[in-house]
């Protein structure tokens, strides 16, 4: 294995593009090093992107935030303004692993690891975040929901790297939330994860919403019918029931040791309601 730590995207992209064998991007390494250790991957080249400034910064841009792909969970938590504007995204990232893992784990890595159960991904999708991707053909912005295709499969071309995430500006009474269900209190992988972002008008009617579910399909889902169930409502009981049903209908889960299909579908509906309730209460305060 060869280790490279370029200081520019041009260098990083060139290294990844030129390597004919298996090449991996290293951000926090909390997934990659485990996979190397257990021989799931055996890269010839590892490109550490943490020496590239953009990957490690949180900056305000266009009324929103640009968050580097290699910013750690601990750093997200310590960024007071980001946390107050996008609490759901930060809380989702902070659910990943232990204090030690938070010291290293990144949202770029969480997305590129390609797990359907990645905690930060539904929160980013609900927030309407875009991934800024750099590659041999330059830079492009892609909605986060379009990055992952299937377990361990991404839509990135050879040589492409996620540089940062762009969280959009928030208008008026908009707020996000993320919940995951696990059978213990800490340190587990989602049975179901749910991100909700919604906007209220002056009368408390929901004018826009995005609902995303994780761990219930081959990739994290943006569930438009679930958003439609609450748009135009005050999120009363009837709307919450429709949200529950729409979330359940979107699920295509597998049975595994964390839960059966039926269980995941049921939990997805409950979690969607609970997450929407938190987003609602936050939006009312904004």
């Amino acid at each position: 294995m060869r280790y490279e730590a370029p200081t520019s995207f041009d260098q990083a992209v060139a290294l990844l593009t030129r390597e004919p064998g298996e090449a991996r991007v290293l951000a926090g390494g909390t997934d990659l090093l485990v996979q190397m250790r257990t021989d799931i991957v055996d890269p010839i080249l590892v490109v550490d992107i943490k020496g590239i400034a953009e990957t490690r910064q949180i900056t305000e841009e266009g009324g929103g935030f640009r968050v580097g792909a290699a910013v750690t969970g601990a750093e997200l938590k310590e960024h007071g303004k980001l946390k107050s504007v996008w609490p759901g995204v930060v809380e989702a990232a902070n659910l990943i692993g232990s204090t030690q893992v938070q010291g290293r784990a990144t949202m770029g890595g969480n997305l590129c690891n390609g797990s359907p159960a990645a905690d930060s991904v539904p929160a980013l999708i609900a927030a309407g975040a875009k991934a800024t991707i750099v590659g041999p053909k330059g830079r492009r912005d892609v909605p986060v929901e379009d990055v992952m295709l299937a377990p361990r499969k991404l839509s990135l071309a050879k040589g492409e790297i996620i540089a940062s995430f762009l969280l959009p500006p928030k208008s008026g009474k908009t707020a996000d939330a993320y919940l995951r269900f696990i059978p213990r209190t800490e340190m587990d992988i989602a049975v179901v994860g749910c991100g909700v972002c919604l906007t209220l008008d002056a009368k408390g009617v929901c004018t826009a919403a995005r609902v995303s579910l994780g761990a219930v399909a081959p990739r994290p889902l943006l569930v438009a019918p679930a958003a439609a169930a609450i748009i135009g409502t005050t999120l009363d009981d009837a709307a919450m029931k429709k949200l529950d049903a729409a979330a359940q209908a979107a699920c295509q889960p597998i049975d595994d040791k964390r839960g059966t299909k039926e269980y995941r579908i049921k939990v997805a509906g409950v979690l969607a309601r609970r997450t929407a309730q938190i987003a609602l209460e936050r939006a009312r305060k904004n």
Partner: protein, 158 residues
């Protein structure tokens, strides 16, 4: 494959070592630098036995490449006591019998020290959550939590 030349600071001392690119920081601390206080438990980031600080940030040294330590300041269990004088956390672990086999203890001490430097007055819940990534199969955790709470009280001078 060429070895990497790494220069870093460990417990305040400048160090340099050669490492293979795939070697973890844990391997480098133990095998290159002879600092065997940091323990290998699971080697997959689940147990916290290999906890160290990197530029003040608590991490699992098994989840970081040694070459990534270049230019960084590393803190290990060997830097917790001042010479013969134990750190309050170490004394309280002994007083409360917060260890049995001891394999997890260096990781718990490094992690707890990082917590108390950040939050000198944590609640019991905060201590339990902070230390959720440190596994102990002997004590049942209660003694560890009591030792950390007691050390925090002493360190605040309360």
């Amino acid at each position: 494959m060429a070895k990497h030349h790494v220069t870093a600071t460990v417990n305040g001392d400048a160090v340099e070592f050669l490492c293979e690119p795939q070697e973890t920081l844990l391997d480098c601390l133990r095998d290159q630098l002879g600092l065997t206080g940091t323990k290998e438990g699971c080697s997959t980031g689940d147990c916290g036995a290999c906890s160290v600080t990197v530029n003040g940030r608590l991490v699992c040294s098994c989840l970081m490449l040694g070459v990534e330590a270049n230019g960084k300041s590393i803190g290990t269990i060997e830097g917790v006591a001042k010479g013969e004088e134990l750190h309050p956390l170490q004394r309280k672990f002994l007083e409360h019998a917060a260890l049995q086999c001891g394999i997890c203890t260096p990781g718990f001490l490094v992690a707890a020290k990082a917590l108390l430097e950040k939050h000198p007055d944590p609640s019991e819940t905060e201590v339990r959550y902070w230390l959720a990534g440190n596994l102990c199969r002997c004590t049942g955790y209660d003694k560890i939590i009591r030792a950390v709470m007691d050390a925090a009280t002493e360190m605040r001078g309360a």
